[in-house]
Symmetry: C2
Subunit: 330 residues, 2 copies
């Protein structure tokens, strides 16, 4: 029976990964590690045997012990402080909770001499300062990180490669681009817009003003359900020490995203730019190439962005309902 450790277990991506595993009807065992209790019940799965341990990955000894007890075949390393803006406010905490926790994790695997495969999740932020001529971004392009968060992710990636080549640790690396999907926190742009639209759709108005950042920027969005399938395939078929973009390969403006969602809820949308939501020195355009993961792993995204956006809106409607009804957010 395959055994997975998932770090960052209580987060958005982890829950979708669990649902993906469950949908495959394989008997697998999962140990979830996180600082925070998950908001779901680990007993709610039919095929998964799922347990949770509250562990701070900065605590090397506790983590090493949890790994040793469980002897995982796979580690999906989702734990991260993945906010760019937080990293500008507290670079030390950001660096520790990205790079240092990862180093603790991969060093534990080395010291325990396990053949565990690790998926090291990185970010499109690693590309950093790019121009439109660089699109689509390929894995072999130079990295020019511009935020403390991006530096932390590049450091994690370089450590992964040194461990793969120098210590023969089995690690596969991603650079994951923006994801969208049900359950995402509203600190992310699409989720924030969808929440505003879901709220507006309950007000029985025709016109709605939403608060936005710069809507002209172009991003590459992938549905989180496609993303977790990519992670599964990379754990199964990725090449040791290799880096893979996880992205749709298609760029859309945020205003296009807003229009699609506005049409879906049947509202005429006007937007007001909040300067505090406009990131200084943000890249105009970020689009990735997914040729490598297509070619080597056989992954292509299945879910159209339109479908993803509708599901995000529907999810927000449900979350707002259950909130009004006093139910807990799921």
């Amino acid at each position: 029976m395959d055994k997975y450790i998932i770090t960052g277990f209580s987060g958005f991506v982890s829950r979708h990964f669990l649902h993906y595993l469950e949908s495959r009807s394989e008997q697998v065992s999962v140990l979830g590690l996180d600082l925070h209790e998950p908001a779901f019940d680990v007993r709610d799965f039919r095929h998964l045997t799922c347990t949770f341990e509250r562990v701070d990955l900065l605590d090397k000894e506790r983590m090493q012990n949890a790994i040793y007890q469980f002897q995982p075949n796979y580690i999906l390393h989702l734990a991260a402080y993945s906010s760019v803006s937080f990293s500008w406010k507290n670079p030390i905490l950001s660096f520790q909770n990205n790079t240092n926790i990862f180093l603790n994790l991969i060093e534990a695997i080395r010291l325990l001499r396990l053949s565990t495969r690790i998926l090291s999740v990185g970010s499109s932020e690693e590309y950093g300062n790019v121009t439109e001529r660089d699109m689509p971004l390929r894995e072999d392009m130079p990295l020019k990180p511009v935020s403390p968060y991006a530096v932390a992710r590049v450091s994690q990636e370089m450590l992964s490669q040194v461990y793969a080549k120098g210590f023969d640790v089995d690690v596969v690396i991603t650079r994951s681009f923006n994801h969208v999907g049900p359950g995402q926190k509203d600190i992310f742009v699409v989720s924030s817009l969808a929440k505003q639209l879901a709220e507006g759709s309950k007000k029985h108005v025709r016109k709605l003003e939403v608060v936005t950042g710069d809507l002209s920027i172009i991003r590459d969005f992938t549905d989180v359900r496609d993303v977790v399938r990519a992670y599964y395939l990379l754990l199964k078929k990725g090449k040791k020490g290799e880096i893979y973009n996880v992205c749709s390969g298609r760029g859309v403006t945020l205003s296009e995203v807003l229009n699609v969602m506005g049409d879906y809820v049947g509202l005429e949308v006007e937007h007001r730019v909040d300067a505090s939501l406009v990131r200084p020195q943000d890249n105009k355009m970020i689009i990735g190439s997914n040729k490598k993961i297509q070619h080597e792993v056989g992954w292509v995204p299945d879910i159209m962005l339109e479908k993803a956006l509708k599901d995000v809106i529907d999810d927000w409607k449900r979350r707002l309902e259950s909130h009004v009804a006093g139910g807990s957010a799921t």
Copy 2:
């Protein structure tokens, strides 16, 4: 009066930097920070007002407090775990005592809103996996670090650049190539060879067998007294956020180094390769370009390698004498 903080105060490079400052006859004040007491007397200088504090740079609060009290104009950040082989044995300690201590230091300057200029000392190891065609190595070349130590240094450098651009912190960055000079520990190759020759020269023999690693590799050596002058000039004239190679621009084989030193002591030298001293996957050739530092800062090395090597031998003779005489190593 200029005020300098020197981290890694008790080390080899720091002592030469102090002598350089002293030789300039400027009245400057120096606060030395290190985990270990210096082996010299801080009161031995005529022009420098020198004090020492034992501080672990991983202790953010203590370090920040020391910086705040002293209000330095310049920080020469020499503290590091600079051994590649140690980094393979303990990657976590290596990373913490290179990258994390540096992040603590530069974050302290940001939080205290000081206009202090920091010199972030990096390493030619950052270039990593290079070929002869890449020589001489220029600052704009891609970095391919292959050891945990090299990754830690690249991370430090990327953090420096983010702090310079994103936070306007005044930091100048080096990639320093091999240095040689009096006082260096015998874990470094030239110092180790010189020590063996100095020992041999006292034995009144004609032939001497020395134990070596791979003598065919080519390195770029600079006398430490030239290196510290480069650091001084970079603190005074380097451009914020810029990276400078500190190197001679000239490559020599280690066997050439050994021959020069053998001639100087008048011994016929044979060498025996100790496999444990041959680094796996070591680069055949590392030569840097010093055009940028020449052009922008006006630094060129003054001391010929032959002179440097003789001084290293003479220094070892003195150290061995004083050791025999029961004196403490200075």
